[in-house]
């Protein structure tokens, strides 16, 4: 409930632990709220969210958030270098781990010592993705991660995400862009006015 209004209502869905599940829908439909419920940045007034069979309120929220990473709509760089940003996720990380994380998101590991604010929008968003990967998540929540990006960086991000899904990371991707949904999804749910539309449509992947 926000300001007395139900943001999400009677949502029941079991999202498979494989591939990319897209939740599509117009802005204001409750997509972001649904994602934030999945890593307990918000809690439901009623109902239960479970992860791998366990209700979230029985899991340690800090451990849960390491298993279920999140990339936000706007890039959120912290002050300092790219290495500083990545080590926020794991202070004990060795340089090798940081480089590996950058490689997985198509960023040059040579950038580690560079100030994060010198990156372009697309690079910043991929750095935020790499930062999340440092905690070795099983699942990623992507909240309209490319809505502020141009066509080319958008495409790089989509390819990167597909690669990660191929490596076995479960992805829940929220977008209002139907074309993007069809490009990246294994299955698509439609969310309108806080309600999920029945069964997802399956997308054939090459």
């Amino acid at each position: 409930m926000r300001a007395g209004r139900r943001v999400l209502d009677r949502i029941t869905a079991a999202i498979p632990a494989a591939g990319i599940t897209v939740i599509a829908g117009p802005s204001g439909a409750g997509k972001t709220t649904l994602l934030r419920l999945c890593n307990r940045l918000e809690i439901p007034d009623e109902g239960t969210v479970s992860y791998r069979g366990q209700p979230l309120d029985e899991l340690d929220p800090l451990m849960l958030r390491r298993r279920v990473g999140m990339v936000f709509q706007r890039p959120t760089p912290f002050p300092g270098t790219i290495a500083d940003n990545l080590t926020v996720a794991l202070p004990s990380a060795a340089t090798g781990e940081l480089s590996a994380a950058l490689n997985r998101v198509a960023l040059d590991p040579g950038l580690l010592g560079q100030d994060a604010r010198t990156l372009s929008g697309g690079e910043l968003q991929r750095m935020c993705l790499a930062r999340t990967l440092v905690t070795q998540p099983e699942t990623l929540l992507l909240d309209e991660p490319t809505s502020a990006l141009d066509a080319e960086p958008k495409q790089v991000f989509e390819t990167t995400a597909r690669d990660l899904a191929g490596q076995g990371i479960t992805i829940i991707w929220v977008t209002h862009d139907d074309a993007q949904a069809r490009r990246v999804a294994d299955r698509i749910y439609q969310l309108r006015d806080g309600r999920l539309s029945g069964a997802p449509t399956e997308e054939a992947r090459p």
Binding site: L41, M63, F72, A89
Partner: protein
Amino acid sequence: MNTTVSWAGLAVSLLLVAVAAGISWWQRLGLQRQILIAAIRALVQLLLVGAALTLVISPGRSIWWSWLWVAAMLGYAATVARRRAPEVPHLLALALASFTAAAVVTLGVLFGLHVFPLTGRTLVPIAGMMVGNSMTATVLAGRRLTDELRDKRDEVEARLALGQASRQAATPYVRAALRAALTPQIETTKATGLVFLPGAMTGLILAGAAPVQAVLVQAVVMFLVLAATATTTVVIALGLIRRLFTHDHRLLYLPAPADH
């Protein structure tokens, strides 16, 4: 060689208020009324406090009256802090806790270690300095921390989403708030004696104390203020963090301050 101000002298000094009001009238600032009301109000308040203090700290009076006075000051200062920064949640309780902590630390050192003898005459003014400065620092620190967490909510939640505990996720913003609240006091301390002669020292010298004695008292007061502001701000900041995050490490919704 005590210097005293006579009632006639006080009346003459009202000329200075007239100067301020005159400038307001000349430059059409429209502040004459406010200047006069402020001056009269301050005078009445001071006279009342003077009368009350005479009762409280007169020789032979129990020290408990002075402690009662100190407690009342703490309570009143907490309500003023809350009024000045209404956008900071739970500020009344937090301010009370932080003033109490600062009182324990500063009064503990000054009276526990016999820097001053514990009498009403020393307790009340020392506690007054402590509370007054702590109140300003409380408002600064509380407001800054609330602003930081509200304006940088994205960044804070990105830290939480990486699995940081709320205390840890808030650390950069707590630091920024503490620095902002303490820096003015450090600057003042550095400039003391060069740029301005602080109030306590001025008062002592005017009242006829030897300058060296006045300097020693002033130095102690400055250190008292430093310790008090540091203690209050850290209690406010850490206390606020506990109130603004839930036990399961979510940042509560912080409304923007109402526009005035």
